[in-house]
């Protein structure tokens, strides 16, 4: 075998080994992300159950569990950011991403229900936005709407935004959609119980909030995944 042939074969071996190693390393990193997301979701599920239980135990003074609710919501916000990043990396049709989004949506619905229960028990009126989006081609304004909501959440810390992928095949989510009567004209917002469709500008979105409902106080929020 000539020197050139031998060197070419060694080079081919190195190239295959290098690309294989890079592919393995990227896959390993992505799997580590999924594992971390799963761990966070498991922890959040536990926290949610704990808060539920705490809420039941403190029937006489339910507002004692408000602080725990806020912590839970912050964790949910961090999870949402990570899930959003993972979705960008893996693609929205990745089975692992879909499974994580289903779990995340369930946690959001649970947090939404607890927030409402706490509001009723503690006579508070948190500003809640239910935001329905789609990753498909049927929602050209969803990215803009998502970014505008991120800005509002950052600017008005008391605002709670719950984001849902409208097309996610999840029973609890479909029930929420049925209850809120949101149609498949996306993006859709349920603000203070009123449903609106489409996104034109930040100014128009802000007009949908009741006057004085967005005070600049303590942070409690949930991001768009």
């Amino acid at each position: 075998m000539s020197l050139v042939t031998r060197n070419a074969l060694i080079a081919l071996g190195i190239t295959i080994a290098l690309t294989g190693t890079v592919a393995y390393a990227i896959n390993y990193l992505n799997q580590a992300r999924v594992t971390e997301l799963s761990a966070i979701e498991d922890q959040l599920a536990l926290d949610t159950l704990s808060l539920d239980t705490q809420f039941s135990l403190l029937e006489a003074a339910p507002c004692e569990s408000a602080a725990s609710s806020t912590t839970l919501t912050d964790k949910l916000a961090d999870l949402g950011n990570r899930l959003s990043y993972t979705e960008d990396q893996f693609g929205s049709d990745n089975p692992q991403v879909i499974r994580l989004k289903e779990q995340y949506s369930l946690l959001e619905i649970r947090d939404y229900l607890i927030t409402k229960q706490l509001a009723k028990a503690c006579h508070t009126k948190p500003m809640i936005v239910l935001y329905f989006y789609s990753n498909g081609t049927d929602c050209s304004d969803c990215d803009k709407a998502g970014y505008a909501l991120s800005y509002l959440r950052n600017t008005y810390p008391t605002l709670r935004v719950y984001s849902f992928d409208y097309n996610l095949d999840l029973g609890a989510l479909q029930t929420l959609i049925a209850i809120t009567k949101v149609k498949d004209s996306l993006p859709a917002f349920v603000i203070d119980g009123k449903t609106s469709y489409g996104f034109t500008s930040l100014t128009d979105l802000e007009k949908q909030f009741p006057k004085g409902s967005l005070p600049l106080t303590t942070a409690t929020s949930t991001p768009k995944p």
Partner: protein, 416 residues
């Protein structure tokens, strides 16, 4: 299919080619070439040498070039320097006249006919065993010729190239070219060990005079007479060696416009030579690495350079426009600030990025190898930075211009 998928085959080829260079660099012939030394060659064994300096309007640099040649450590009676004034219209002739009385220097004046005619005029005027060329904007180290001579080890070696770097790089553009030239030292040294050089550059390449004469002297070669001669030598079955420690410094273009013009000429010349008269070398098993790897890779690199540039441009424009579109109407106080946290989770590693970084990293290794092998002085930091951030944006300009010129048969003058 995402656009980035188009880049994968080219990245795979680039990694394969870099791996081949790396393995060949560590192989026995390259190691032996690095250990080759001029020691032991007595003055009597040294061949007679003539260095031809073709000049066209080089009044500003020809004196320094001449001084560096006269300082060469080589027996005076065996070294002659032939200046060929190729019809210069500036003060070149009067600068040359200052050296007219020097016993080693000969001066030839002729009508302007192009660099190849000047070289042929110089060859016709000498009986030296070896002839060398040196562009009139280049300077050599005193021991450069002593490094060249031992490379003519066998009768099959018809030419030897030197190790070029940039003379006193100052601007970012010059540092970028210096890094590129150092890269060139590494791959020329490597290619020479498997006889795959297809250019004998103007700065300080040497030839056996009888071989050059037998082949009919230099030709126009689509304005790349050095490449045409190297390809002709390869086609005729001769060997081209490299002396990695024979340091020669050349002046390089100082503006993007002149750099693009120079490189357009090189790449157009390459395409016209290799896809014209020397097409038979491509894929020719008898030519070993040159036919099967080096020339095909060089052609692919022209196309991939353009494609990857457009891919990068598309990705950059698309993400920028999307980001602007999404942020329109949101206060700048929010949009201009970074959001999120520093966490391994958000480390932006993807297949394309890591593979691209790998090829860049190996390029850095070759640049450092080139510097070390040639013992070229100077610092590399600015060269590496400018090579990383500039080269990928500028090189597609000359690749596209050259490809267009080649496709449409457009002829340009030497300096346009």
């Amino acid at each position: 299919m995402s656009p980035e998928m188009l880049a994968y085959p080219f990245l795979f080829i680039a990694i394969f080619f870099e791996s081949f260079i790396l393995v060949t660099l560590l192989s026995k012939p390259a190691r032996a070439a690095r250990e080759r030394s001029a020691a032991g060659m007595g003055d009597t064994a040294l061949p007679s040498v003539a260095v031809i300096v073709p000049c066209y309007n080089e009044a500003a640099t020809v004196a320094a070039t001449c001084d560096s040649l006269l300082a060469l450590e080589y027996p005076k009676d065996k070294l002659e320097i032939i200046f060929v004034n190729d019809g210069s219209t500036d003060a070149t002739a009067s600068v040359m006249a200052r050296y007219a009385e020097h016993p080693q220097v000969r001066i030839i004046h002729k009508e302007n006919g192009g660099k190849h005619t000047a070289l042929n005029a110089g060859i016709a005027a000498t009986q030296a065993e070896l002839i060398g060329c040196l562009d009139a904007d280049s300077f050599v180290e005193p021991d450069a010729l002593s490094e060249i001579i031992p490379c003519f080890v066998g009768a099959e070696v018809a030419a030897v190239t030197a190790a070029m770097s940039v003379h006193n790089p100052k601007s970012i553009l010059e540092h970028m070219q210096n890094a590129e030239y150092l890269f060139g030292i590494a791959y020329r040294h490597t290619f020479a060990s498997v006889n795959s050089l297809y250019v004998t550059p103007g700065p300080f390449s040497f030839y056996r005079r009888d071989v050059v004469e037998a082949l009919g002297g230099f030709r126009h070669g689509h304005q790349t007479e050095d490449m045409e001669m190297a390809l002709r030598l390869q086609q005729e079955g001769y060997g081209i060696e490299n002396a990695p420690r024979a340091r020669v410094y050349t002046k390089v273009p100082t503006t993007i416009a002149t750099l693009v013009k120079q490189r357009t000429r090189w790449v157009t010349g390459f395409l016209r030579n290799i896809l014209g008269e020397y097409r038979s070398l491509i894929g020719n098993r008898g030519r070993g690495a040159l036919g099967m790897l080096v020339l095909p890779s060089a052609i692919i690199s022209v196309g991939s350079g353009i494609l990857l540039f457009f891919l990068m441009l598309y990705t950059l424009l698309h993400s920028t426009l999307t980001a602007i579109q999404i942020r329109t109407g949101i206060p700048l106080s929010y949009t201009l600030l970074p959001h999120g946290s520093f966490d391994w989770f958000y480390f932006p590693a993807n297949f394309l990025l890591v593979l691209s970084m790998s090829t860049l990293l190996v390029s850095f290794i070759f640049i450092m190898v080139g510097k070390r092998v040639s013992k070229t002085p100077g610092k590399l930091a600015l060269g590496l930075v400018s090579y990383t951030f500039l080269y990928g944006f500028i090189s597609p300009l000359w690749l596209m211009r050259a490809t267009t010129d080649f496709a449409f048969g457009k002829q340009r003058s030497w300096k346009s």
